[in-house]
């Protein structure tokens, strides 16, 4: 068994090399980035909405903060009470948003709670952020940012008079904007019981952030300066905060930010702790058929210190190779991708250490991941099982036609999809949304699974194929139970070098020659026997 030993040593040495490499990357990352290895320096921000769902079509939308300029968003997480369906992304008025809808066919008032959290950091823009910045910083459309609305009555007599007084026509646009800003900033900051319009703010000689921002918008628009409202948070300390409002005016081919409440004028003066949640006059949290309250909470992730304007090359390098630098929608995909090797490792453990038979490696791994994503166990599981069984029935029918393999498998995919369409329509009629549980991705696996199921049935027995199916699902469920924890997801995202340890484990597992647990029972008959005296005596 010399080759055996040398191969085992080679595998062990390689495994150690992988582990050492991973450890080296981990240590290097940790020592250079320090606490920043757990995500960029920034604030954990949480938007939570709670209240009562009133109507059948009740829905809550939250805009996704723009990932642009130096404002970077990562680690999005969603949580909601069971009265709500998982959030769906969508696009509303130029900005992405997430919408939670009520479970179907519920009509009685129900209380609910939801949370949307993310990490906000400042960084040099990535190409994707540049692209978004370019989009958001484009010149205003012709009249959109000059319009008079009830809240922003740019044509109102008092507004017209005030604007003309404060910003005479002989000033340059920038001087006009500055004059108007100075005027509004000079008004009192007052607490107000209800949202003010621009006019109310002017009449009362002051107001809250929203009122002052509206007043400044109305005045600027009246002077022909395209101006838009910006909603966001001023991150000071930690805890709870009201939404803050300021404005941006199109002056000299760029958007000029002005905060009349805190007296900040121009980009260079707007502090880094200004987080933009929404550009434009629409709400950050929109609700329909709901009585609700929203809260904005934040806390700095680390002891936040901005002493970092000239980072060392090493730091710049590790920041660049951090997955946090990706755009937030790509981060979701990468998170899932990083879980796949872990899922495969779990399946390998189940097969090599325990000795469970499954349909291949990918079927249980991918089905397990599909269950994580859908988040809903009973339905996802049911849809999968029923689909496999129906597919199996169809496979039996197809057998009668003696079709060639490739067209036959293609026919099977088509039949399974027809069946799934029927399920989706039927479930929709009953008020369930099964599309959440049927991603296209595991479907291919499903067809393969049906083929394997049929092969085992034909070659061994029906009970053998059902047993393998059962084990495949047991392993898939185990995979999703382990990998659904956010801790694992976040860890893999922060330290993708963990894959080195996964590889090391797989190399060791690949040369594992111990008994499988199932074999301890399979060979029971050999255990109970007293050791027979073998004829070949040992020298």
């Amino acid at each position: 068994l010399e080759t055996a030993m040398s191969k085992t040593w080679l595998s062990t040495a390689t495994a150690l090399a992988f582990a050492a490499g991973a450890l080296a990357v981990f240590v290097a990352r940790k020592s250079v980035l320090g606490p920043e290895a757990d995500g960029p320096l920034g604030w954990d921000v949480k938007v939570s909405v709670s209240g009562t769902l009133l109507t059948k079509d009740a829905a809550i939308s939250i805009t996704q903060p723009p990932d642009f300029r130096q404002q970077h968003i990562s680690e999005e997480r969603f949580e909601s009470s069971p009265e709500l369906r998982p959030p769906l992304p969508g696009k509303g008025a130029g900005q992405r948003k997430y919408t939670w809808r009520r479970q179907k066919n519920h009509t009685e008032p129900e209380s609910f709670h939801l949370e949307y959290s993310f990490l906000y950091s400042r960084q040099r823009p990535t190409p994707e952020m540049e692209r978004r910045t370019f989009q958001k910083n484009q010149a205003p459309e012709r009249d959109a940012n000059l319009k008079a609305t009830p809240q922003v009555p740019a044509k109102n007599e008092r507004i017209v008079r005030c604007a003309a007084e404060q910003a005479p026509a002989n000033l340059s646009p920038r001087e006009q904007a500055h004059a108007l800003f100075k005027f509004v900033a000079g008004l009192h900051n007052l607490p107000v019981p209800a949202p003010q319009s621009a006019l109310e703010c002017l009449k009362q000689g002051g107001g809250d952030a929203l009122g002052k921002a509206r007043l400044l918008t109305a005045l600027c628009r009246n002077r022909g300066l395209p101006t838009r409202l910006v909603a966001g948070l001023v991150l000071v300390g930690r805890g709870d905060q009201q939404l803050h409002y300021w404005v941006e005016s199109w002056v000299g081919n760029e958007w000029l930010p002005m905060d009349p409440t805190h007296g900040h004028f121009s980009e260079s003066n707007l502090p880094e702790n200004y987080l933009i949640l929404r550009i434009g006059s629409g709400p950050v949290v929109a609700a329909r058929g709901v009585q609700s309250q929203e809260r904005f909470e934040f806390r700095p992730r680390h002891n936040f210190a901005i002493d970092d304007y000239a980072p060392s090359p090493a730091k710049t390098f590790w920041r660049a190779v951090s997955l946090y630098s990706l755009h937030v929608s790509e981060q979701h995909m990468v998170e899932l991708l990083l879980l796949l090797p872990l899922a495969a490792l779990l399946v390998s453990l189940a097969r090599t250490i325990i000795g469970i038979q499954t349909f291949g490696i990918f079927a249980p791994a991918l089905i397990g991941l599909a269950f994580i994503e859908s988040g809903a166990f009973p339905w996802g599981l049911a849809v999968f099982l029923v689909t496999v069984l129906v597919g199996w029935g169809m496979r039996h029918l197809l057998e009668r036609f003696h079709l060639l393999q490739v067209p036959r498998v293609s026919a099977l995919i088509t039949l399974i999809i027809i069946f799934l369409l029927a399920v989706i329509l039927g479930a929709n009629y009953l008020g369930i949304t099964p599309t959440r549980y049927i991603a296209l991705f595991p479907l291919v696996i499903l067809t393969f699974l049906v083929e394997r199921f049929w092969t085992i049935e034909a070659e061994d027995s029906t009970s053998a194929s059902f047993r393998t199916l059962l084990y495949t699902f047991v392993v898939a469920v185990a995979v999703s139970l382990v990998l659904r924890h956010d801790v694992i997801r976040t860890w893999m995202f922060r330290y993708p070098e963990t894959l080195g340890f996964v590889l090391a484990s797989l190399f060791l597992l690949g040369r594992y020659t111990g008994y499988r647990l199932t074999e301890l029972y399979r060979f029971s008959d050999l255990i109970q026997e007293p050791p027979a005296k073998t004829s070949e005596g040992h020298p």
Binding site: A4, G514, E519, D525, L526, P531
Partner: protein, 306 residues
């Protein structure tokens, strides 16, 4: 019994586990490049002819649909024969013709087929219906093995065969595999066939296994399967050794059938032979594998022995 006790007991008995078999025997000793030879029945047939090991006679090979029109001529001389896919597995696509009745062919289960039915079956084999990869395949017309009465008496339909496991070309364990009703005439243990361990030195069956558990009788015929002397045993061992050397696999299972007239015929070789043979013999494989390793490590010492 705890897992540790079981584990220790298995180690003590020298039981070869699946992981050990896969890593140390198959990965290390069976080069992948040699697999196509054992997986293809025609290649095995050619190999046997080269090294002079008897194997069921090959009447005809049908590799293309156009060759099907010659079928009447090809089968004219043969009253009985077997149709098989070259790269089939698990007994799929096998058709056993035991005789003729006028223009029709009689299957082993009594069903009657006409020439067109037979041509259709061959056509689906050639199209790849029974080859697992789905690739176009070749159909074989082969001599039908008429089981020797010694085995026929104690098995249910199908042909019993002898499986010999060879490690580095040395026979280390053997068993007689008897089809049952449940295995559907196939001689695979995991499909429900009975396996009776054969003593390598004498060729006599001593123990038997059914579905991983020890047994004494065939479940369908009710006859004892123990104490049976396998006919032509030394000849079978010799055949197995020669085939093992020729296929170039370090760990191989050789299947031999016993024909009433032709005697032992090599049926096929398996690059991943199963482990149930240990239960059939009541012995673990490991001590025997180690013995072979020792023998081959110091061949001179072996020769100088008393």
């Amino acid at each position: 019994m705890s897992w540790i006790t079981r584990w220790k007991a298995l180690r003590e008995r020298g039981v070869l586990g699946m992981n050990l078999r896969n890593a140390r025997c198959i990965q290390d000793l069976n080069p992948r490049a040699r697999f196509p030879t054992v997986d293809s029945k025609t290649k095995m047939h050619d190999l046997c002819r080269q090294i002079g090991v008897p194997t069921p006679e090959l009447y005809a090979l049908i590799a293309a649909h156009s060759a099907l029109r010659h079928l009447p001529r090809l089968v004219a001389e043969h009253n009985d024969f077997v149709v098989k896919p070259d790269r089939g597995s698990g007994g799929r696509g096998v058709l056993v013709i035991v005789g003729r009745e006028g223009d029709s062919f009689v299957r082993s289960n009594g069903e009657r087929l006409n020439l067109t039915d037979l041509q259709q079956h061959l056509s689906s084999i050639v199209s790849g219906l029974y080859s697992l990869g789905g690739l176009p395949d070749t159909a074989l017309l082969q001599q039908r093995v008429v089981p020797d009465p010694v085995f026929e008496r104690i098995s249910y339909e199908g042909a019993a065969d002898v499986r010999v496991i060879l490690y580095k070309d040395v026979p280390v364990m053997a068993m007689l595999r008897l089809p049952t009703k449940k295995s559907g005439g196939r001689a695979n243990l995991h499909q429900g066939a009975v396996g009776a361990g054969i003593d390598i030195a004498t060729g006599v069956t001593s123990r038997a296994v059914l579905e991983n558990r020890a047994t004494q009788r065939h479940p369908d015929t009710g006859l004892s399967v123990l104490g049976i002397q396998v006919p032509c045993w030394p000849q079978m061992l010799d055949m197995a050794r020669r085939v093992s050397r020729a296929v170039g696999l370090g760990y191989v299972g050789i299947d031999i059938v016993l024909d009433r007239q032709s005697g032992p015929l090599l049926l096929e070789a398996n690059a991943r032979p199963g482990l149930a043979i240990q239960i059939a013999n009541g012995q673990g494989l490991l001590p025997r594998l180690e013995e072979v390793d020792r023998m081959q490590a110091e061949p001179s010492a072996e020769r100088q022995g008393p």
